[in-house]
């Protein structure tokens, strides 16, 4: 393309060539995507940094003094890390083990995995947590009552850091499961088989071969889980506060509660979160970098063959059923049970006798319910699709391109993870109230909010998948004459699709729950389901809320099934 005709003067030819080179679809797409990522991340970040470090008199560190001057700050950081790391480790172990069993072995009850991987994500955090209070509170927990004859009263205590770790870890494990399933699916089993043939036991193979090979996915999962737990609010608020266990988010809630909201202190705390997250990113880059070693999707074909568990099969089957009970059946039953009651009470003949469908009837009578469902669907599908498209390109920039500063794209995409939802809401309303783009008061501002909030997850899913695709697959397309865009669309996208689909489902599902920024940004007519949930919660209508939860679980479950069915038609076929 640079072989310009000799007739043109050298300089003009050079300029034109230069221009033409800049205007290729590849450059255009990269610039647009990098620009969008930067824009989405920087708007709230700017607002946060500004609010943190500047007041009417200029630069100040007063926010830090107020945020960290509290004598309990050490406890708070300790609790936060304990909680976050604990939940991350638990979700990692559970999610990875399940993904491995599902993809690589002949474990029974594979059908259950699907439900187990999605339903906990769908149940709103507040309901999931409350369901666990009803299950494992020392005072009224059903499980405690159940095992009281054997272990004595109050065997489980959910109102401890361990309880928080348990609930959060279980609630997060599906995310790890989704990330790791994609990783295991695209890994050549012969790598494991060769280890098996070298005389390694199955456990050794898992530990010495499988885990190192899927390290980028594992590192990504840990990182996302730690940060996700650090910014989790429902669990610490409902379980921690009862015994005075504070974490970052509960402190942020405190400082934002007053008016004018102490953005500086909230920002200082958020900056603390940002620091932890950046340390995490740095570590993950350090651990997961020697790229080529981990490209497990190579051009050599492989047939994923399930490994036979032999005598362990029934044991693993039991473990699966147990897990399924804990993450899905238990909470879902509590939800279903509650949704049929007039007010929550422990199960008894009386309670069962009083059951009605009133809550569901009330739900369908609610004027906003249908609008909200429609809006949530539009926003969920829209943000999931947009984010995954953007992040697929973003991941290419980060992993494959040699553009200087590409890591910045990665870091930027990570920023929204640590920006509290309310701060994001404030930032977006601040910007779009003053922007000539007339999206304030429309559904689009919610779309932007959702895209911003879920960008980090999308990026993790996409980067993880990208790391696993051998560069030769891309290069061979290039040599075959495919342009960048053709390579991307026809080779990379299909190969990435398991990971992209997992990310898409995740975003779709969690966007239904987004409240903290939606509540500030929605406008009449643009209500979403999470707003309804919040309202029912505020009204004390837990029973209606439970009914809403059940409806949401059903709706999303149907959507996800459709997505999987469609997804199976493109990309790597899985036998």
């Amino acid at each position: 393309m640079t072989t310009a005709s000799p007739a043109v003067s050298a300089r003009r030819g050079a300029t034109l060539g230069w221009l033409r080179r800049l205007l290729t679809p590849k450059i255009a797409i990269i610039v647009v995507v990098a620009g969008l990522i930067g824009y989405l991340a920087l708007v709230p970040l700017y607002y946060l940094i500004w609010g943190t470090f500047f007041d009417a008199n200029g630069f100040t560190l007063g926010g830090f003094a107020r945020a960290y001057g509290d004598p309990r700050v050490g406890d708070m950081i300790g609790n936060s890390l304990w909680f976050a790391v604990g939940a991350a480790v638990l979700s990692l172990c559970v999610g990875t083990a399940l993904a491995y069993l599902n993809v690589r072995t002949d474990v029974p009850f594979k059908g259950l995995f699907f439900a187990a991987s999605i339903i906990p994500l769908i149940i709103p955090g507040i309901l999931y947590t409350i369901a666990w209070i009803f299950l494992a509170s020392p005072d009224i927990g059903l499980l405690n009552k159940l095992i009281e004859p054997i272990f004595g009263p109050a065997f489980f205590d959910i109102f401890t850091v361990w309880g928080m770790v348990w609930v959060e870890g279980l609630h997060l494990s599906p995310i790890v499961f989704l990330l790791m399933v994609a990783a295991f699916r695209s890994m050549d089993p012969s790598l494991e088989e060769s280890a098996l043939m070298s005389g390694a036991s199955r456990w050794q193979v898992f530990r010495r071969v499988t885990v190192p090979l899927t390290r980028p996915a594992i590192v990504a999962a840990v990182l996302v889980m730690v940060v996700r737990s650090l910014e989790s609010f429902e669990v610490p608020a409902l379980l921690g506060l009862q015994n005075g266990i504070y974490v970052f988010t509960s402190r942020i809630y405190f400082v934002l509660r007053s008016y004018p909201p102490d953005l500086a202190a909230a920002g200082a705390l958020a900056v603390g979160l940002l620091v932890f997250a950046l340390i995490g990113v740095a570590i993950s880059n350090l651990v997961g970098r020697s790229g080529k070693t981990y490209q497990t999707v190579t051009g050599k074909g492989f047939r994923p063959r399930p490994m036979e568990l032999g005598k362990w099969r029934p044991v693993m089957g039991a473990v699966i059923v147990l897990y399924f009970f804990f993450t899905v059946v238990g909470p879902l039953l509590v939800l279903l049970y509650t949704s049929l009651l007039k007010f929550y009470q422990a199960p008894s003949g009386e309670a069962f006798a009083s059951m009605t469908f009133d809550n569901y009837r009330q739900l369908f009578d609610m004027s906003d319910a249908m609008t909200a469902l429609k809006n949530s669907l539009v926003l969920g599908l829209g943000s999931a699709t947009l984010v995954m498209i953007l992040m697929a390109v973003g991941a290419w920039i980060v992993v494959r391109s040699r553009i200087p500063g590409r890591q910045l794209v990665d870091h930027l995409s990570f920023v929204p993870l640590v920006i509290p939802g309310l701060v994001l809401g404030l930032a977006l309303s601040f910007v779009y109230l003053r922007s000539p783009i007339p999206i304030y008061g429309t559904i689009f501002i919610l779309l932007i909010a959702y895209c911003t909030r879920y960008m980090p997850y999308g990026m993790r899913y996409a980067v993880t998948s990208m790391h696993q695709i051998s560069a030769e697959l891309e290069e061979s397309a290039q040599v075959s004459g495919a342009s960048w865009w053709q390579t991307f669309r026809r080779v990379l996208l299909p190969l990435l699709s398991p990971g992209l689909l997992a990310g898409w489902i995740y975003i779709l599902v969690v966007s239904f729950r987004e409240l903290s920024s939606s509540i500030l940004l929605y406008s009449p007519g643009n209500e979403v389901l999470s707003i309804l949930i919040f309202e029912q919660y505020e009204n004390g209508q837990f029973t209606v809320l439970a009914a809403l939860g059940v409806v949401m679980v059903l709706t999303l479950a149907v959507l996800v099934v459709i997505a999987y069915k469609l997804g199976a038609k493109v990309g790597l076929r899985q036998d």
Binding site: V43, L241, F254, S258, P261, L263, Y344, F534
Partner: protein
């Protein structure tokens, strides 16, 4: 003033408003100080009264049917009303239905927690965006909004019937939320139930009493009340310490009510009576009667926006809420601000939240209350 983006000093020119959102980024890159700055709301910027304010002033002087006759055609001509409120949805739905049934005015409703309502209005006003005509929310937030200078003066015969604590500059009380202890009747017999606030400090409630994490207004008002009663600060602190000792800290009155019904704890220190009343009506084993006195009342009120696009509708709605609306609120289990006829609370001592103190030193009280409940946790601790 620690929050530049919200309260921002005004170095901006109105032209800034026109800048694209990119300008924020540009300025970030340029490292310029003084931004994001807020553009002043129109009225507060020092200009003359707004069109809405002129209408308010005109109608404020009118009374009775003449006033209604003036407002209704104007409001119906405006056709819509943009209302921001923190009313719960069941109440709001009932209010809307009645109002829209009576007048040919379509109400656009934005509903959120009171802090969020406040944030949103402040954000919109600073950007010169006319989002709402009228606001109905908690006293504290209304007080803040008035301080921001976005609320207009309102007067009417009905306003003059509201008790003095409910007649504030810029807003008028419409209803009261009552703080009262409530208990699970399955776990607490009537004779065990607390009779006074001081009873809550009894060690017998250790591990059984729940306190709400954000009720510093309740704390402040009770504290001031006891001060007036002649208790020393030391005595008062001791009572609160007694309550907090072994207390279970809960976030959210709703959760508190729910967990109380479920028996997670026996006694809730400061729940809203209406939440307990609703649960009780559904058959939950909870009660709050007879009242532990004095009952602490947090007023909710209504305020007119200076920048209203539909001022007549806003004024009509305010009039209506203080007149026909009052009966409707009673029907919803709420306590109205204007008492007509038989007062169910006439023998109950009610003290309003000290809004002025709260707004002035709210942060201070927040911190003290945090301290109180965290001390409790330490005594309880492990």
């Amino acid at each position: 003033m620690n929050t530049a983006p919200l309260s921002g000093h005004r170095c901006g020119r109105p032209a800034r408003r026109a800048l694209a959102s990119w300008s924020a980024l540009m300025l970030l890159l340029a490292g310029c100080g003084g931004l994001p700055t807020a553009t002043a709301p129109q009225a507060a910027a020092g200009g003359g009264p707004t069109a809405a304010e002129k209408l308010y002033a005109e109608v404020n002087g009118m009374t009775g049917q003449q006033r209604r006759d003036k407002l209704v055609p104007l409001a119906e001509k405006e056709g819509t009303l943009d209302l921001y409120t923190s009313m719960t949805s069941d109440v709001a739905d009932a209010v809307l239905k009645a109002f829209e049934g009576q007048f040919d005015v379509k109400v656009n409703l934005y509903r959120a927690g009171s802090e969020t309502v406040l944030q949103r209005i402040v954000q919109e006003q600073k950007a010169g965006y006319q989002g709402n005509d009228v606001v109905e929310t908690n006293a504290t937030e209304l007080f803040d909004l008035n301080t921001e200078g976005v609320l207009a003066d309102y007067d009417s015969e009905r306003r003059r019937m509201v008790s003095e604590a409910g007649r504030q500059q810029g807003w008028t009380a419409t209803r009261m939320n009552l703080f009262a202890p409530s208990w699970n009747t399955g776990l607490v017999t009537p004779d065990q139930a607390p009779k006074t606030w001081e009873d809550l400090a009894d060690p017998k409630w250790d591990g059984k009493l729940a306190m709400e994490i954000s009720d510093s207004d309740w704390y402040l008002t009770l504290f001031k009340y006891w001060e007036k009663q002649g208790k020393t600060d030391e005595e008062i602190n001791k009572i609160f310490e007694g309550m907090a000792s072994g207390a279970k800290i809960v976030k959210g009155h709703t959760v508190q009510g729910q967990l109380l019904s479920a028996g997670q704890f026996s006694l809730a220190a400061s729940n809203y009576s209406y939440i307990v009343e609703q649960a009780k009506a559904k058959g939950a084993p909870v009660d709050y009667l007879p009242y532990v006195q004095p009952v602490i009342a947090r007023p909710n009120g209504v305020g007119l926006m200076k920048t209203a696009k539909h001022p007549a509708a806003a004024m009509l709605f305010t009039d209506w809420l203080l007149q026909e609306g009052q009966a409707l609120l009673v029907k919803q289990g709420l306590t109205p601000s204007i008492v007509e006829g038989d007062d169910p609370l006439k023998d109950v001592e009610i003290i309003p939240i000290d809004v002025e103190e709260l707004t002035k030193n709210g942060d201070e009280w927040n911190k003290r209350y945090d301290q109180v409940i965290s001390n409790g946790e330490q005594v309880d601790g492990n």
